[in-house]
Point group: C2
Chain length 340, copies 2
DNA sequence: CTGAAAGCGCTTACAG
DNA sequence: CTGAAAGCGCTTACAG
């Protein structure tokens, strides 16, 4: 015995029409609520279609309508950390419109990207969303001259396109202002590599809020760097911070662990804020991290609705749209509720 | 100014045929390497198709061939921890065959699942792969009577279907045998909830290898539980383990941190092994975790090739296929290389 | 060696 | 109120 696949004799609109004793055109119009016919006929056709389990063939439909109700999501974020929430937002927004999403992970391989783009175009996607893992890098493939609309989300787009990104400056401000509100006065900033645009943007916002140079330490996106930074700071003679704003949650976790290992209490002695609100890290840190959430799902939702608009020919203004971040308060700052 | 989308005047085979001065049939045959014609004609058509940037419409093709070169991946693993590697394997295996993948995250919502399945069937997917986050649970939707082949990966399937899963018993054996080989004699097992099939299977394999009851502690899948378990063990009078085999990497991370906080050295005093080889956890633990990898990418690859076979009508034996796990050695056990 | 015709499953003017 | 016909873009017997 073995399993068999294949699509043996699917039911078509022919079968429905025959069973209902009407022509194919009438059946089509009945099912699509178009044309005019007796309510009785319409109902009968619809009932029979339901009974025989009729499912319209989207390929045939798409051939006529020039719409496949399909879009492609291109990403070079293998890890899925940014792509997954974006994808969830896109999917949620487009499901109501009957649109399905092809996910294409292209790493940083231009050839792989080209293959995926070609495959999607042949499959007549209504549009493409390009997403990545940083705001100042393009995907390794040129999407600027495609026959379908392209929207960028969390990756650098072209000047004539629509690009959605998080407002990192506003997110950083949110974090630092919160620390200030918590009564912290000596706030340090431990972050990722200065080569990242978002790192510079967040650092600038940090300096802006504290109104001075502050203490900015550039490093890399890992827990280890959090440990090293804390060691550096506490091994110096200089005045110690009572709060540390970190460039991402992994660094923040390293910082929190390092502080605890030095016998310092978080948040009592030092408050810590992370960035990304990556549940797996922020939630498992002891104490759980207060962190800036980039609202990637909302970003995905808007990107999805935007490709859809473009695919339907509705006009959309090009440019970069910055979406506000949100501060998610947990225990690492010493307060439970941002509104309190 | 605004961005415009839409598919204005795509090039069809008509255009190619006209430009090459041949009929549509000849153009089609030239491009598909079928039929017979002068080499000169064939070359000319192909060259012109390339020049005008002709891309065959997969919708039209699919209508004829009953193959959409599209499959659906259904998952209830929102977090993507298991789905992402599986997806990567599927995608990699099917790309060569021109197959694209619809990703559908259905949470545990049957209604959402039904909507996605209906959408995929209308779009004439050639098959569906169902994937989840545990081996002993079905997706919240019945896939047993679909007009297309369904393959299960890392989720419970039906008796007549093909199901791919990791061999958790073998994986656990690998881990415990490795600890034994490292000279460890008092190996404990700290794991997840006993209600999970894979937890029981791993625990049984653990007992098997150590040849006795051992010390099995069921809990939950979090770092905190690792801390609690270590506290429990070390607060008792009984003999302390010199190795702990953990049910997943998060527990293992908690265990490692808890041991270090007690002044115990890992791996010198206690060796620790995790399960899942989740890079973000295993790699950031100090020291990095030796962990069991379930080879989910390979699992995805095989699942992908299997739906493809079924879609093409090739016979496949039903049943559960267990794929071997692999031990990834890092520093938490005291050795660098399993072959040494 | 090349092309006219039928048809995949549907929708949409158009005619009756 | 209902249906015959044309057509979306392609492929595939079949005829010449």
């Amino acid at each position: 015995m073995n399993v068999t696949g294949g699509k043996r004799g699917r039911i078509t609109i022919h079968d429905v029409a025959a069973a209902a004793g009407v022509s194919i055109s009438t059946a089509s119009k009945a099912l699509n609520e178009t044309g005019r016919m007796s309510a009785e006929t319409r109902e009968r056709v619809k009932r029979i279609a339901g009974e025989v389990g009729f499912r319209p063939n989207a390929l045939a439909r798409g051939l006529l309508s020039k719409r496949s109700f399909t879009i492609g999501l291109l990403t070079n974020d293998t890890y899925g950390r940014f792509t997954l929430p974006v994808m969830a937002g896109i999917s949620e927004a487009l499901l109501d419109h009957g649109v399905s999403v092809f996910l294409c992970a292209i790493e940083d391989d231009p050839a792989l990207g080209q293959i995926h783009v070609d495959a999607m175009l042949e499959k007549q996607v209504d549009g493409i969303i390009a997403t990545g893992k940083r705001l100042d890098r393009q995907l390794p493939i040129d999407l600027s001259d495609l026959p379908v609309p392209v929207v960028y989300a969390f990756t650098e787009g072209t000047s004539t396109s629509v690009t959605f990104r998080s407002d990192d400056a506003q997110g950083a401000r949110l974090a630092v202002e919160w620390l200030v509100k918590m009564g912290r006065r000596r706030i340090a900033h431990v972050t990722g590599p200065e080569s990242f645009f978002s790192v510079r943007e967040r650092a600038d916002a940090y300096r802006d809020v504290i109104g001075g140079e502050g203490l900015v330490m550039f490093g890399h996106w890992a827990e280890l760097w959090g440990h090293e930074a804390v060691a550096d700071i506490w091994n110096k003679e200089s005045e110690r911070p009572d709060a540390i704003f970190c460039g991402n949650d992994q660094i923040a976790r390293g910082v929190v662990d390092a502080l605890r290992e030095r016998g310092l209490r978080v948040p009592d002695d030092v408050s810590v804020v992370g960035f990304d609100n990556w549940e797996i890290v922020a939630g498992q840190t002891r104490p759980p991290l207060t962190s800036v959430d980039m609202e990637l799902k909302e970003l995905g939702r808007q990107a999805g609705l935007t490709v859809l608009a473009l695919a339907e020919g509705r006009p959309v203004d090009p440019g970069v749209r910055k979406l506000p971040c949100r501060l998610v308060v947990r225990q690492s700052c010493g307060a439970q509720n941002p509104r309190r």
